[in-house]
């Protein structure tokens, strides 16, 4: 396949215009860490935007950063760290899951796939941090959306719509995010317990006014462990840890130090427990209170290959990408609400099965209309999310 590597937005716009005229299409790539996520795209040409790299503007006292879409997340994080700031959505590095190495993910890909980590439970998803962007739509027009300030309701919020759209609506060229001060200290309480207890514990912790920044349950050799992460000033973290230990006094609690906490949650966000296991992966989002029911409905509560994040709102499942599993998981989402995504599987499976939750007819019609509003000729990542968009 041919690859083109434009170096600026105007070149992208021209390439897209040309493709729209000729009736050809693009697969959009940047860090190439998540090409295997979503339905396979059979495009004529690869549009590589990694040359659009670099931080355009960073104003720490405004809590705002603008960078080109191809800027590596690692580069952004190190610039932020110098000013004791960070990306509040805790970008998830899923590169290793797809044998694409670590530290190569870019801002554009992270935004397009909504790749946020454990901190979502406190701070929201990627879209809650994106305040503006520039993109090229499927007609080859360069569009500005949103702005550079945190509080803005001027016009339709197109920049949030770009988050998690997998490049099907536009080629992101520049993104503005709000950034977050790094907390003085981060620590976690770990409690060894079974799955049902663990899932209950997380929701109980979520109801405490401790503003927990991670609520995960991971399986271990001796059963499972609930991880409750808190952050703040040194004194605040000490108080929060004490409060958790008091609240869960009938369990054995252990405090993880900063280094261990970071390691634990990097593993949770990046799903690194699945690295050693050659298995397909599903991500199941349900109302947290239904997490255990959802697991038992699929007969996996006692199995080995799953863990929970976002207080049980996200279940990572090491289950096969086959019809039987798809059917079971989608019965679960029909029953409890939510959605199941086939995160990792062979391209044949991702072609055959619905990777993203199938939509109701009314919603599918809106999705098609929205696609047509941005990319009427289906030039950009055709069929990446749904067969006909």
């Amino acid at each position: 396949m041919v690859t083109i590597s434009p170096t600026n937005e105007a070149e992208i716009a021209e390439a897209v215009r040309e493709a729209a005229d000729k009736g050809t299409c693009f697969e959009i790539v940047s860090g190439r860490t998540k090409r295997e996520f979503g339905r396979p795209v059979s495009a004529d040409t690869i549009l590589d935007v990694s040359a659009l790299s670099g931080i355009v503007k960073y104003e720490p006292e405004e809590l705002v950063l603008t960078a080109r879409a191809g800027t590596p997340i690692a580069m952004i994080e190190s610039a932020l760290a110098e000013k004791k700031q960070m990306l509040g959505f805790e970008p998830a590095d899923w590169g290793p899951l797809f044998q694409a190495g670590t530290g190569r993910a870019t801002l554009g890909g992270t935004v397009a796939t909504n790749a946020c980590g454990a901190r979502r439970v406190k701070a929201g998803a990627v879209r809650d941090h994106v305040i503006g962007c520039r993109f090229v739509n499927g007609k080859g027009e360069a569009i500005k959306a949103g702005g550079h300030v945190i509080k803005n309701v001027t016009g339709f919020d197109l920049s949030r719509l770009m988050c998690g759209a997998f490049g099907t609506l536009g080629v992101l060229t520049e993104i503005t995010v709000r950034v977050t001060p790094q907390p003085e200290r981060v620590a976690a309480v770990e409690i060894d317990c079974g799955p049902e207890t663990g899932l209950n514990l997380m929701r109980e912790a979520a109801r405490l006014p401790l503003d927990a920044s991670g609520l995960s349950y991971v399986l271990s050799d001796n059963g499972g462990t609930a991880l409750i992460r808190v952050e703040g000033t040194n004194a605040a973290v000490a108080q929060k840890l004490a409060e958790l230990q008091k609240q869960f006094a009938n369990h054995e609690t252990k405090v993880q130090d900063e280094g261990t906490t970071q390691k634990s949650f990097r593993a949770v966000s990046g799903a690194s427990d699945f690295l050693e296991i050659a298995t397909d992966i599903w991500r199941l989002c349900v109302p947290p209170a239904n997490a255990y029911d959802a697991l038992t409905a699929c007969g996996i509560a006692l199995g080995k290959f799953w863990y929970a994040d976002w207080a049980g709102g996200l279940l990572w499942l090491g289950l096969p990408g086959d019809e039987k599993t798809a059917k079971c998981l989608r019965e679960v989402t029909a029953r409890f609400g939510g959605h199941a995504t086939l995160m990792r599987a062979s391209s044949q499976a991702r072609e055959r099965l619905a990777v993203f939750e199938p939509e109701t007819p009314a919603r599918a019609e809106i999705t098609r209309s929205v696609k047509a509003a941005f990319d009427p000729k289906r030039v950009l990542n055709p069929a990446r999310m749904f067969k006909d968009i």
């Binding site: 405004e62 998803a125 809650d128 309701v153 001027t154 004194a235 108080q239 939510g338």
Partner: protein, 495 residues
């Protein structure tokens, strides 16, 4: 002045027939007499008034769906309305429109503490959500100043903010799901009690779409456990610049206050005369800072903010330890609009957002403009997130005063955009600011937003005449042929 799409004479002529059809759908909820309709002729942007053709007050989503499907079939415009507190004319009726009032859909459907959410109908007021959950130690974070009256449906439409946005986000960050009725009557669920959605994040664009994409019939809201401690600091400055520097320094130190409000001297004086919150006499500016969280964290932050303020030149810092004092300090801030309202009969409240660092320059320029236009303007400001609320007072009865006030307001908003900010931080574009959209967006940017509108409402029947400077038919947008980045209609005159 703004203009609205001209009424369709055919629709105007069919008034009785439309009223009958609506009565078939909502037997006891159709208002047709002109006196009562006058009550719906404006929202909180009272400079613009227009009686609707008819008003319908449905009781459930089923009726809303039937009303919209009827209007869609019969090509009649719909204007949704919550409590009518919009400051941008978002609920301003059109002469040929059916006003869809949500006041009867005001039930809280479910409080789900396990999933930390509340499911409510759109006519529920913002404040009543918190009231419903506070006994269990929870609250709903977005708190627009009209929160006693404004409804959740309106909050979703406008992506409403409030004073706690920097730390807790706008409505969009606290909205987990909606049930939506599209203009053709189709019902759709977006999001819910679970995280995110499987496909495109349509919820994120429905929130803040000013009632132009669909009618919200149910909302799932995130509720939060109330922080154990809240503390308020009142800091006085003898220069505006010192106050601005303090704001920047607090943020740069890594502190995210729950609220950080700024008032200038003119505003302080008006408020003091109005309700005597005991603000420091003679101060050029004050900051009201609020911090919440664990006791140790709040104590740390209070100390650090006090130190930062004094190193930036604060004249005094008062730490409101007792609740009564805290309430009094906030009462002044919340009474700012009312206090200004006593100076002159009419008021325009602007709503631009600027990068915080531009604050001193922007305030200097506003006072120059104030002299130029001969109109009093005072400034309250959500300093934490850079959201300005200059209040321009005037007397509508004086010839040319409204025009001058609007020109003054437009100059302020243009200034905000020129300084890297935006036209509106929380009030919405509505009819008030639509003519200024070109300051921020090119015709191509706006056409893309309009095409999104068309994807939801191809006939342009839902709340038309808002947000966009020129009203395009969808078919026209679809056919727009762009050559070298230029639109064929780039030189059309603007309203």
């Amino acid at each position: 002045m703004t203009t609205l799409p001209p009424p369709d004479p055919v629709t105007l002529g069919r008034r009785n027939e439309i009223a009958r059809a609506l009565r078939d759908i909502v037997p006891d909820g159709v208002i047709g007499d002109e006196a009562t309709l006058t009550a719906f002729d404006c929202d909180a942007l009272t400079a613009y008034r227009q009686r609707p053709l008819l008003c319908v007050l449905p009781e459930n989503a089923e009726q809303i769906s039937t009303v919209l499907a009827y209007a869609h079939r019969e090509n009649v415009r719909i204007v949704p309305r919550g409590a009518g507190t919009s400051l941008s004319g978002g609920a301003l009726p059109l002469a040929d429109s059916i006003l869809l009032g949500m006041s009867r859909m005001s039930r809280i459907l479910e409080l789900d503490y396990e999933n930390r959410c509340a499911v409510v109908q759109p006519g529920v007021t913002n404040a009543s959500v918190t009231r419903a959950v506070q006994a269990r130690g929870f609250y709903y974070a977005p708190d627009p100043s009209s929160q006693i009256a404004c409804t959740i449906g309106g909050n979703v439409a406008e992506n409403s903010g409030g004073i706690h946005c920097l730390k807790y986000g706008l409505t969009t960050q606290n909205l987990m799901g909606v049930e939506l009725v599209l203009m053709n009557g189709e019902r759709l669920r977006l999001g819910g009690k679970h995280a995110g959605d499987g496909g495109l994040d349509l919820l994120s664009v429905v929130c803040g779409s000013e009632g132009m994409l669909g009618v919200v019939t149910e909302a799932t809201l995130r509720i939060l456990p109330r922080p154990p401690v809240t503390r308020t600091l009142l800091i006085a400055f003898d220069t505006v610049r010192a106050a601005g520097e303090t704001v920047a320094a607090i943020i740069a130190a890594g502190i995210i206050p729950a609220a950080l409000e700024f008032m200038d001297r003119r505003c302080i004086e008006a408020v003091e005369a109005f309700c005597a919150p005991h603000y420091p006499v003679g101060a050029e500016a004050i900051l009201i800072g609020e911090i919440d969280g664990m006791p140790a964290e709040v104590a740390d932050d209070a100390r650090r903010i006090t130190e930062i303020a004094s190193s930036c030149g604060a004249v005094s810092t008062r730490d409101c330890v007792d609740e009564a004092e805290r309430v009094r300090v906030w009462s002044g801030r919340k009474a700012a609009f009312g206090a200004m309202g006593r100076l002159e009969p009419d008021m325009l409240c602007m709503d631009g957002t600027i990068p915080r660092k531009a604050l001193p320059d922007v305030l200097d320029r506003i006072s120059e403009l104030s002299e130029h236009y001969g109109l009093v303007c005072c400034n309250v400001f959500h300093a934490g997130d850079g959201n300005l609320h200059p209040l321009i007072v005037f007397d509508c009865m004086k010839p040319g005063a409204l025009e001058r006030a609007e020109a003054f307001g437009a100059d302020i908003l243009k200034l905000c955009v020129a300084k890297g900010g935006v036209l509106t931080g929380e009030h919405g574009v509505g009819v008030e600011k639509k003519a200024l959209m070109g300051e921020m967006f090119s015709d191509i940017d706006l056409a893309q937003q309009e095409r999104l509108k068309c994807a939801f409402d191809g006939q342009g029947l839902l709340n038309p005449g808002k947000v966009f400077p020129t009203l395009h038919a969808c078919v026209e947008l679809g056919r727009m042929h762009v050559q070298g980045g230029r639109l064929p209609f780039a030189n059309l005159p603007r309203m």
